[in-house]
Symmetry: C2
Subunit: 201 residues, 2 copies
């Protein structure tokens, strides 16, 4: 696997630093069931507003059911299909828009689902796997094909598998796999005291 | 600090397992600057849709400016104020609703901000700190007081500090601090193949 550790001003936990969204998957190596469940358990223990656990995750394991995996795969955009074809597992995170306990609007449903997703990606990194979340899929199609109720919003399709060398990818994908990771300067996103004042390190 | 490790069917990474949202903070122990920056760096390296980094975080360090910290504190609901009063640092995560690169709606803004938040909470756990996200605050007041533009949604106020024994809390708060952590059964939130089919471990 290509290693791309985050460049930070001060040290951060190695798990957070080395998680990244690669595209080179080993197409011949399925996930063990215990690995798959560990990813879901990590997501399950994320925090949520009023403890409502507004996330849902649908899993498609190619090893269990190739045709269902393919139905999920076919919701992806063409750009993503060209590398996701090697991923043994697909997942979709889905966010509830109302609180389960009282049916009122939950404005944190998508936010909390993102937190659960991050736990899942980090757990993948902890197991030597790679989890790559994608926005590039047809959410309406996913809703139709998998009967997702209107109350829920499909958020991210996630490709999961064992990483492989960048050489399994072609052209532009391989270049992306080997390129450095970048983020905007800290002060452009992180403020102190009020809006727009860059935090100083 | 009260230890409350997640109960899981299979092992998960210890950092994910032991992160939890406590309320007992050590009021006499401020954050070191290097710790505060580490939390932000962890958030900074979260994944985001099309790499837009739609999150913003505002930090209020009581040690730097008590009056600004208080303005943030006063946005909290009364229930939260009664324990947050001991937290040396407050933060607010804010989600962009449009893509910076093209001004089009970003339906993953809140989702990705939740992922960045989770990295921040986990980094706190890694440093022996505690970060407790809250939905219980007046978002309109926060927007007004800190001049947050309409395009952005205030998501979570976060209390950060060094943990203290549960005994610093009173009554109901102390009970909550000592109570076991719970989550819904895996199959209620995690499905396989399609909507509503519980995943089997």
């Amino acid at each position: 696997m290509t290693s791309k550790v985050a460049k930070t001003q001060v040290p951060i936990h190695e798990l957070v630093a080395r998680r990244w969204s690669g595209r080179a998957f080993d197409r011949d190596r399925p996930l063990e069931r215990v690995q798959l469940i560990a990813l879901l358990e990590a997501a399950r223990w994320a925090p949520s507003c009023y403890g409502d656990e507004p996330w849902r995750v649908i899993v498609w394991d190619r090893l269990q059911d190739e045709s269902l995996w393919r139905k999920a795969f076919e919701c992806l955009g063409e750009w993503n299909q060209r590398w996701v074809k090697n991923a043994p597992v697909l997942m979709l995170t889905v966010a509830d828009s109302v609180f389960e306990k009282n049916g009122k609007p939950n404005r944190w449903g998508q936010h909390d689902t993102g937190a659960a997703g991050e736990n899942l990606y980090l757990q993948a990194a902890a197991l030597g796997l790679m989890a790559h979340p994608m926005g590039g899929f047809d959410a309406d199609k996913a809703r139709r094909v998998f009967a997702i109720p209107e109350q829920f919003a499909p958020m991210a399709m996630i490709a999961v598998g064992h990483p492989a060398p960048a050489e399994v990818l072609e052209g532009e994908y391989r270049e992306l796999e080997l390129a450095g990771r970048t983020r905007k300067p800290l002060g452009e996103r992180f403020f102190e005291g009020g809006w727009g004042t860059p935090v100083s390190a």
